[in-house]
Symmetry: C2
Subunit: 989 residues, 2 copies
C-alpha cells in the first residue's frame, strides 16, 4: 500500500483551512512493491542466509568528497562513486533477484542529477520494486562521538528529504545503517527511533563486548536510548553485524579483493564450486551459532566496492545457485539476496524477546591497546569551526525565514542556505568532524564550510537589511576569537548588530579589537553601556600572527532579544580614561556577585571556586599536562597514538609547568587572570561581572615536537568533590550518561588501557558531582574527557602526533597550516559552573545552548541611517526556559520547518523537567502560521503515519505505545527531552 | 556487401562436382555494416584523432590463462577477462558511437560459450555494426622471436576459424595487432600478409629506430617481408603506435589508472574540462608532427583494462564531446571513436607513398642497456617441449586424417586433437614459449601440452591400430632424450613403430635405453639391421635422475616412409658380442663417408670439420662459456639480466674449462666423443655412420649459483670462415636474414651493448659463411645467437639469473623443478653441416624439418599379430624435396585442411629454388580428393576473395598484383617460399 506521503492524503493536526503536503512524484506509476513487501521469500525450516550487497562510501576521508565522487586522485585511493552507481544500476537490471542498498545521499543526489530521464525512470522502477533500497539515507553516515544532535538531525533531514521527494515512500529507509562509526552514541539511537527507523545495524563495538554478546547471543538487542522519553519512543532494535561490514573471509568478490571467483566451467582448470560451497556452508553454520534466529545476515561489500558490480553479482548469482542446489540433496541452508530491512523483518517475525540496553557503545576498542578515543579530540580547530558553522547555519536559516524572499535575493545579491546546509551535512561524516581524515580533506571540509558561510552571509545581510530597513554595508568579523577585525581596529564610530538565534534573550560579553584607549558604547535605546578597554594579551598577539594589530580590546556586555537582534553603538573617545592596566601578580581572589575564585599565590593556579548564591565552595586546582603518545615501538603492542587511537605510553601525564606566570586585569566589566605556562600553553581565567560562569580561555600550540615525542595535551580540574570514580558526559549534546572508571554496564571489563580506556566523548558538557556539589564544564566543541582520579575531570584539548595509527588514514595527526607552519595553535573556552546538583541543569542547559548558538555580531561603519530599526525579535515572546528552538528553516516557498525541543532530562531539574506547552500560532511576531502538520524527527513522514515494528525486551514489560495529547488546536506540549517537528505554512505579516 | 564466405557462393578451383563452403551462420540477419563501412566519418580539413578503446589480455603471463579468464589469483595481478568482455558489451550497448576491438580469441571463445543466446545475439549485432571489431584474432598474440611459423599459422587458424564460424565476414579481422611482442619478425609480417590482413600495428621497437622514424615520419611504412615471394604477396603496411599500446600521458581512465577523470559538473570543486581539453589538444598536435597524414591514432587501453569499461567510456564520451565542441570556436581537431582498421582506411585513402622496409625489428632495446635478447633463450626446456609438442600435434593431426573416424573413437577410447591444438596455440603467446612468464605459469603451459598429448596419444594409437590392423597396446616413451623407457629397459622382445610426419622418407638414428648387452634388430621386411649397444653416458645418468636405470643404449638407424610408418623388431640376444666400450682418450679423428672431425688431443676439443664429398675443411673449435649476468648494481644502468633482458656485465665470457675430459665410443653405427667440461656442462660429439651432419648433444645444468652470480651459458664455434662480422639467422624457422655486427640496415646504430645488442633469435638454424664455406647449425628449439668475432658463432643455451629485470614478471629466471631442485638441467642438440654456400640449403632445409617434425617412436611389447601391416605411407609418392607438407588436419567431418609449402628461398639453392608442381589428386594413397578450394594462409577466406589494400612504396615501383597460374585442374605450383592452403573434400578409400 502506498503511503499517504505520495498522495494528497495529508494528516492535518491543526486545521485552519490549509493542507500541507510533500511534493508528489509526477507521472503515472506502476504498482509498487517496495520495502518489506519486496523481500524474497525465506524458508522457515532452514537456515536463511541474507546476502546484502552494499558499498560503504565515505563522504570524504583519504580523498575529498568531490574526489570520491568523480574517482579523482585514485593514486591516493581507488574510489569513484559515480561509477559505483552506474555499475550497480546496470547490474540490478540484469537479474530481478539482485538487491542493493545505498546509504549516502550526498553521493546519490549528485549522481542522480547527472542522469538522463530514462536512467532516472529505470532507477525509480528499481526502487519501486525494492531492488535498490535506501538505508540510513542521510546526507552522510554521521560520526557519533563528535557530532552535535542539531547538525545530525539537519543532515539526516536533507538526505531523507531528497529521497522522499525523488522516490516517495519507496525511497524511505526503514533501517539505520551505521556500519563504520567508531562507537555508538545513545542519542543517535534515540534520534533514529524518532526518525521512524525500525532498526539499526552497525559493525563496530568493543571486542570484549562483542565476545560477550556472541556467547550470550545478544548481538541483536533492543536499545532503550532515552531515560526521559516514554518507551518505545526512543527504543531501537539494534543488530550487530557479523563481520564489521565486510563479507565473510574468502567471499569478497570485488575488484579490490583477491578471493577466488567461482570457477564453474568444467573445461577450465581449477573447477572450485564444491570447495566454495563447502566453505560457505561452514561459515554460515558457524555464524548461526552466535545469533538467535534461523536467519543470519552477511554484508557482501565494503569501502567503495561495487565500482564494477558485475564481479560481485556474477559470483553471488553462482553462489546462491550452487548452495541452494544442495537443498535437493538435503541441505538445510537457504541463501538469498536480501537487504537489512528484509532481514530485520524476519527477526521481527521471529517474535522473540531481546536483551535490553540502556547505556551506549563508547569507548570502542578493537583490541586490548587499541582504544578509539583519540578522535574525540583530533583536529580541535576543525571541531570548533564545525560547531561555529552550525550556529551560523541556524542563524542563516532563521533569518532566511524571518527576512522573507528578499533574504535570498536582495540588496547584497543572491544568497542561499543550501550551500552551507550541504557543507555542514558532509562535515558530520564519521571521518569529517571526527578529525580522522587526511589533512587535505580536513582543509576541504573547512573550505566548504567557509564557502557555505559566504553564501549565508548574503542571506544574513539581505535579511537584516530588510528587517532593519538599512542597506548599509555589513561587515563580518570571523576572527574575533583572536582579536582580529579590521573595522573595529580602525573605525572611530561603528555599530554592532547582535543577532541572537535563541528563543530566549541572551546576555553576552562582546570583545572587540581596538586601537583606541577609550570608547563610549550605547544601546539601541540610547542608554550608555559600561565598557572597558583592556590590553590585548600576549597569547593573543602570538596566536593572531600578522592578521591584526590591535593593541586593546573593548569589552562590554550586551543583551539581545530572542530570535532577533539589537544594535549597539561604539564611538572612540578622545578624552576617556586610560585603558585598564595589567598587574604582574595575581590577586588572591576575583569575584562578582555570583562567583568567587581564589588563586594560589605561589603557583598562580586556581585554588577554589565558590557559588556565592548557593554558598557552596569547592577546592579547585587546574593545570595543563600532556600524555606522551605511544610511538608503538617499545610497548605491549605496536599500536601508536594516531588520529583515531589514543594510547599514552604512561598513565602519568607530564606537567607543562607547576606554576603559571600571571597577569591580572580587573575592570568593572571583566576580571581576568592571564596565566602563562609555557610558550605554547596559556590561559585566561575570566569572570564577567554579570556572569554565573567562570570562563577558562585556553590557548595551546604549537605543540613542540623537537623532542620527537607526540603529545596529547589535557587540562585537568582537581576538586574536592567526592566523585566515587564517576563522572558524566552528554551524548551528542543532549542526554547525559553516567561514566564509571574501569567499568562497563553490560559486561565485566578487563581494563587494559587505564587512561585511554576511560575516555569518553564530551560534546557540550561534562560534570562531576557528589551530594553537595556539581561542577559542570561546558565545552565549545567536542572533546575527549575522563575522570581518572577521585574528584578530577580531565579534558583533552589538543593532539600532535608523529605516527599513523594504522587505521587507514595513513598520516600522523600533525597539523600545520600556512598561518601556523610550525604547528597549529588552538584556542577555546571551558565554561565552569558550580551548583547544587538538583539545580545544576538549570544553568548548564541554557548555557550550553548559548555556546552552540552564540550571537552573531555584524558591524556597520559610521552612523546608521536614521530610520534604521534598531531592535527586532521574531518571537512574540521568549519561549519558556525548557524550550529550545531547535530548527527554523525555510522548507519551500510558503512553508517552514520548525523544531521545538524540551531541553531537560526528566530527572535533572525540579523547575524545568516538566511538560511545557507552546502555542504555535502565538509563536512568531512577523509570521502568520496558517497551517501546521507534525512530522517525524527527520521530517520525511507525517507523524501519525509513523508505524514502527514493536519489539519485546527480555527484562522489561513491553511498553505501551504512547499517545500524544496536545491540549488543543495550536498548543503543543513538550515533555522532557522531546523534540517535535512541524511543517508550518506561514505568511509574512 | 556481405562477402561470399557468409553465403553459399564459393569459389571452386578444381571443380569435380563438389562445392566446399564454410559453415554458415544460422538465422535471419539484419543488414550489416561492419568493417571499413562502419567507420565514423572524419573531417578532411582537420586533424582527426582516432581513439581506439582496447584491452591487452595476455594469454598467460603472471597468472595462467585460466586464472586470467576467471579473475582468479588477483593477489598476483588484478585481471579477469570474463569481466572485461561482460563490461565492454554492456558499455557498447549504451552508446552506438562507441567502439572496441578485441584481440585474443582464446579468451573470447571461452567467454562466448558461457553466454546466453540473447547475449550472443547482442554481441553479433555489435559485430555486425562494427561496434565490436576483432583485430588480429588468432588464439593469442604470438611471440615473434621464439615461435616457429608452423605453430603460429596453426594458432592463427583456430582463432580466426572460430571468429569466422561465429560471426561470418564481420568477424574477420582486417588488421594484425602485435602491440606487445618484444621485437618483430619479418616472417610474421609475411604470414600476416598472406593471411589477408591489410595492415599491422605494433608498439615496441628499438628506441633509436623509433627516434629516427619520428624524425623521418617513417613510423608508418610498407614492410616487404619476403625476398622470395613476388610483391605484394608479402607486403604489409605497418604502423608503429605512438605510445606503445598505452594511452597518452594523463589520459588513462581505467580502474588501474590514476589520471584525473573529466570533472564537468560545475557544482563540484575542480571543474577541469578546460584543462583536460587543453592537454589533449597539445598532445594531439604534437603527435601529428611525427606522422604523415591528418589522421593520428591513440590507443585508449592497456593490459587487462576495461574490466570496468564504464570508467573509460564515460570519460571518452566527455572528451570527444568537449574537444569537438571547440570546433565551433575554430578548433581544427576532430576526435572520434575508431578502430585500427578505420584508421588504416584513412591512411590508405591518403594515397601517399610509404618507406619500404625489408629487414626486421630485432633486436628490441627500450634503452641503451636494455636489450630484450635474453628471452630468445629463456626457459630452454619449455622452448624444446613446445617444439616437440608441435611435431607431436602435426603427427596427431595427420593420423587423425589418415586413420579416419576411428582415430577419434577407437580401440583405445576417445581422443581428440583439439586439446593439443589449443594447448599449442596458447603456448605461442608472447609470454609463453618466450619464457617470460612466471614459473607457475610456465608449469601450466607445460601441463597443458602434456594433457594435449595425452588426448592425442589416443588419436595416434587408434589411428595406428586402424592403419596397422593391430590393437596391441602401444607404449609411448617421451623421455628417450635422457634414456628412459621402462619397456625397452626391461623387454626381451618388442617392436618399434617409426612414424614419419614428413612428406619425404627419413633416416633417423634410434637410441633406446636397454639393460641387455646385445640385441638383434630387423626391419619390416625382415632384414637385419646393424645395431650397437653402447654404455649410457655419465651425463645421461646424471640428468635422468631416478627416472630410469638402463646401463646401455641400443643404437640403430631407421628409415621411415613419407607420411607413414614402418616397424622395427628388437630382440635381446643371449649370445651377442659385448657392448661397445668407452676409450678414455679421444681419437684424433672420427669420420664417416661424408664427414671428418678432428680433435685437439691436448684439449679434447674439436679442432676441424671436413666435408669429404665437397672436399672442404674448416678449422673449428667449440667450447662452452658463461656471461656473468648483470645484477644491475655497479653498472652504467641499473638494468639486470632477467627473463626478457640479456645484459652481461662484461663482454668477455668466462670459460667453463679450457679442456674437456673425454671418452670415446666407436662403433659401426655411431662414433661418439663424450666431453666433460664441468659437473654441470658436458657434451657428446656424435657422428652416425649414415649422416651428413655432426651432432653436438649438450647437457647444461644445474647452473651453479653458489657464487651468487647469474649465468648465461653459451657454446661458441670458432672457425676459419671469413665472416666479415656477418652471420645469418632464420625468421620463425623460414626465411633467412643477414645479420651484421653493430649494424642496423635502416638507421645509424649507436651500439651500447656490444654483446646483447648483437644477439638475434635463432628459430631453427643459423649459419656463417664466406665464399667457400658455410657452416650451418640447425637447432632443436629457439635460442639466441650472435657472431661477435670474425668466424665465430655463439648460441646461448641456458640462463640462470638471480634478479628480476623490471619488465613485470617479478621473478628472477631461476628455474628449478621437483626433479631438479638444485637447478634445471637442460639437454639439446646442435646439428652441424659444412657445405658450399650455393648448396648448403639443400642440406639444412630438409634437416631442419626433420628436427621440427622428428619421427614418433611407439613401442609394442612382445610379438606383433601376424596380420599386422608393417609399413604404411599416406602418400602415393614422396613429395619433391622442395615441398614441405606443412599442414594436414581434419577440418570437419568430410574435409581436411592441407598446406603445401615450398621450403626454399628463391636464392639459396640452384637445385631447389624453383617452382615445383604437385598434383593434389595424386597426393594421398588412401584418400580420394573429391574437391579442393584454395584459401588464404589462415584458412578464413577463399583465396580468390582476398582483396587487400594496395600501398605504394617510396623507393620502388608499385608491384603488380601477381596472378596465380596453376597448370591445370588439380596441379598446384609452388614457388620459392610459397605456402598454399587448401580445403579438400576427401573420402577414405
Amino acid at each position: 500500500m502506498a503511503s499517504g506521503l505520495q498522495q494528497l492524503c495529508v494528516f492535518l493536526l491543526f486545521v485552519v483551512g490549509e493542507v500541507l503536503s510533500f511534493p508528489v512524484n509526477q507521472g503515472a506509476k506502476p504498482a509498487v512493491s517496495c520495502g518489506y513487501e519486496s523481500c524474497h521469500a525465506t524458508k522457515p525450516d532452514m537456515l536463511n542466509v541474507h546476502l546484502v550487497p552494499h558499498t560503504h562510501d565515505d563522504v570524504g576521508w583519504l580523498k575529498t568528497v568531490d574526489q570520491y565522487y568523480y574517482g579523482d586522485r585514485n593514486d591516493i585511493q581507488h574510489a569513484g562513486v559515480q561509477y559505483i552507481l552506474d555499475s550497480v544500476v546496470d547490474q540490478l537490471i540484469k537479474n530481478p533477484d539482485r538487491r542493493f542498498i545505498y546509504v549516502e545521499t550526498a553521493f546519490f543526489y549528485r549522481w542522480w542529477k547527472q542522469q538522463s530521464s530514462a536512467t532516472q525512470q529505470t532507477v525509480k522502477q528499481l526502487v519501486d520494486e525494492g531492488r535498490l533500497e535506501f538505508v540510513n539515507g542521510g546526507w552522510c553516515m554521521s560520526d557519533e562521538a563528535t557530532t552535535h544532535y542539531s547538525a545530525v538531525i539537519d543532515q539526516m533531514t536533507i538526505g531523507l528529504r531528497f529521497l522522499n521527494e525523488t522516490f516517495g515512500p519507496c525511497g524511505r529507509p526503514r533501517v539505520a545503517w551505521h556500519i563504520d562509526p567508531f562507537g555508538h552514541a545513545r542519542e543517535h539511537a534515540s534520534m533514529f527511533a524518532q526518525m521512524g527507523y525500525d532498526g539499526l545495524f552497525f559493525g563496530r563495538l568493543d571486542y570484549q563486548d562483542r565476545a560477550h554478546r556472541m556467547r550470550e547471543k545478544e548481538q541483536e538487542l533492543l536499545w532503550r536510548a532515552s531515560d526521559s522519553l516514554t518507551p518505545p519512543m526512543a527504543d531501537l532494535f539494534t543488530g550487530i553485524l557479523p563481520n564489521g561490514y565486510n563479507p565473510p573471509e574468502g567471499f569478497c568478490w570485488d575488484q579490490f579483493c583477491d578471493d577466488p571467483p567461482i570457477r564453474d566451467d568444467p573445461d577450465l582448470e581449477d573447477y572450485n564450486v564444491d570447495d566454495v560451497v563447502k566453505r560457505f556452508l561452514a561459515i554460515a553454520k558457524n555464524q548461526a551459532t552466535v545469533y538467535k534466529t534461523n536467519h543470519i545476515i552477511m554484508t557482501m561489500g565494503s569501502d567503495f566496492q561495487y565500482e564494477n558490480a558485475n564481479l560481485w553479482y556474477k559470483n553471488l548469482d553462482k553462489l546462491i545457485h550452487y548452495v541452494n542446489a544442495l537443498q535437493a540433496k538435503g541441505s538445510k541452508v537457504n541463501v538469498l539476496y536480501s537487504t537489512p530491512s528484509c532481514y530485520l523483518q524476519e527477526l521481527h517475525r521471529a517474535n522473540l524477546t531481546w536483551a535490553l540496553k540502556t547505556d551506549d557503545f563508547f569507548p570502542y576498542a578493537d583490541d586490548a591497546h587499541d582504544f578509539w578515543t583519540g578522535y574525540f579530540t583530533s583536529r580541535p580547530a576543525l571541531k570548533r569551526y564545525e560547531r561555529i558553522s552550525n550556529g551560523n547555519l541556524q542563524i542563516c536559516n532563521q533569518l532566511e525565514v524571518l527576512g522573507g524572499p528578499v533574504s535570498r535575493k536582495g540588496p547584497f545579491g543572491e544568497g542561499d542556505s543550501q550551500t552551507m546546509k550541504k557543507a555542514m551535512a558532509v562535515a558530520q561524516h564519521h571521518d569529517a568532524v571526527s578529525g580522522t581524515e587526511k589533512q587535505h580533506v580536513a582543509n576541504d571540509y573547512a573550505r566548504k564550510l567557509a564557502e557555505g558561510w559566504q553564501h549565508c552571509q548574503v542571506v544574513v545581510s539581505n535579511s537584516l537589511a530588510g528587517l532593519s530597513s538599512s542597506s548599509a554595508e555589513r561587515i563580518y568579523c570571523d576572527n574575533l576569537n583572536v582579536s582580529v577585525c579590521p573595522l573595529t581596529e580602525s573605525s572611530k564610530k561603528f555599530s554592532v548588530n547582535v543577532y541572537n538565534p535563541l528563543a530566549q534573550p541572551v546576555n553576552w560579553a562582546v570583545r572587540l579589537p581596538v586601537n583606541g584607549t577609550a570608547y563610549s558604547v550605547s544601546d539601541a535605546k540610547g542608554r550608555s553601556v559600561d565598557c572597558q578597554v583592556v590590553p590585548v594579551s600576549r597569547a593573543t598577539q602570538n596566536v593572531r600572527r600578522n592578521r591584526g594589530f590591535a593593541v586593546n580590546e573593548l569589552v562590554f556586555q550586551v543583551q539581545a532579544p530572542p530570535l532577533g537582534y539589537t544594535i549597539y553603538f561604539v564611538s572612540l573617545r578622545q578624552d576617556g580614561p586610560p585603558p585598564a592596566s595589567t598587574q604582574p601578580r595575581p590577586p588572591t581572589v576575583i569575584k562578582n556577585k555570583f562567583l568567587q575564585v581564589t588563586f594560589d599565590p605561589d603557583t598562580g593556579l586556581l585554588s577554589s571556586l565558590s557559588n556565592l548564591e548557593t554558598k557552596q565552595t569547592i577546592k579547585l586546582t587546574q593545570n595543563f599536562y600532556w600524555y606522551n603518545a605511544s610511538d608503538g615501538k617499545n610497548m605491549d603492542s605496536s599500536q601508536p597514538s594516531g588520529a583515531y587511537i589514543f594510547r599514552p605510553n604512561s598513565s602519568t601525564p607530564f606537567g607543562i609547568s607547576r606554576t603559571a606566570k600571571t597577569e591580572t586585569v580587573q575592570t568593572s566589566v571583566v576580571q581576568e587572570v592571564r596565566q602563562w605556562f609555557a610558550p605554547w600553553v596559556s590561559q585566561v581565567v575570566r569572570l564577567y561581572t554579570d556572569s554565573r560562569t567562570l570562563e577558562l580561555e585556553w590557548t595551546v600550540g604549537p605543540v613542540p615536537i623537537d623532542d620527537h615525542l607526540g603529545k596529547e595535551v589535557i587540562t585537568r580540574l582537581d576538586t574536592s568533590i567526592k566523585t566515587s570514580e564517576i563522572f558524566y558526559t552528554d551524548s551528542n549534546g543532549r542526554e547525559v550518561l553516567q561514566r564509571r572508571k574501569d567499568f562497563r554496564p553490560t559486561w565485566q571489563l578487563k581494563q587494559s588501557e587505564p587512561i585511554a580506556g576511560n575516555y569518553y566523548p564530551i560534546n557540550s558538557r561534562a560534570f562531576i558531582k557528589d551530594d553537595e556539589d556539581q561542577l559542570t564544564v561546558v565545552t565549545d566543541r567536542s572533546q575527549g574527557g575522563a575522570s581518572i582520579q577521585n574528584g578530577s575531570l580531565e579534558i583533552m584539548l589538543h593532539r600532535r602526533l608523529l605516527y599513523d595509527d594504522f587505521r587507514g588514514v595513513g598520516e600522523p595527526l600533525n597539523e600545520i597550516s600556512s598561518i601556523f607552519p610550525e604547528g597549529l595553535v588552538v584556542r577555546g573556552r571551558l565554561l565552569l559552573s558550580l551548583d547544587r546538583p538538583p539545580t545544576a541543569a538549570d544553568t548548564h542547559r541554557p548555557l550550553a545552548q548559548q555556546v552552540v548558538l552564540q550571537p552573531l555580531l555584524t558591524f556597520t561603519d559610521g552612523e546608521l541611517n536614521s530610520n534604521t530599526r534598531l531592535e527586532f525579535s521574531g518571537l512574540q515572546a521568549a519561549l519558556p526556559p525548557a524550550v529550545h528552538l531547535l530548527t527554523l528553516t525555510q522548507w519551500d516557498k510558503d512553508k517552514v520547518l520548525l523544531r521545538l525541543e524540551h531541553q531537560f532530562q526528566s530527572w535533572e531539574s525540579k523547575r524545568n523537567s516538566k511538560p511545557v506547552t507552546v502555542n504555535l500560532q502565538k509563536l512568531f511576531s512577523t509570521l502568520d502560521v496558517l497551517g501546521a502538520s507534525e512530522l517525524n524527527l527527520s521530517a520525511n513522514q507525517w507523524k501519525d503515519e509513523m508505524s514502527r515494528f514493536d519489539w519485546t525486551p527480555q527484562t522489561d514489560e513491553k511498553p505501551l505505545l504512547k499517545t500524544f495529547e496536545d491540549h488543543s488546536d495550536w498548543e503543543v506540549t513538550l515533555r522532557p527531552m522531546e523534540i517535535r517537528t512541524f511543517l508550518l505554512r506561514v505568511r509574512l505579516r
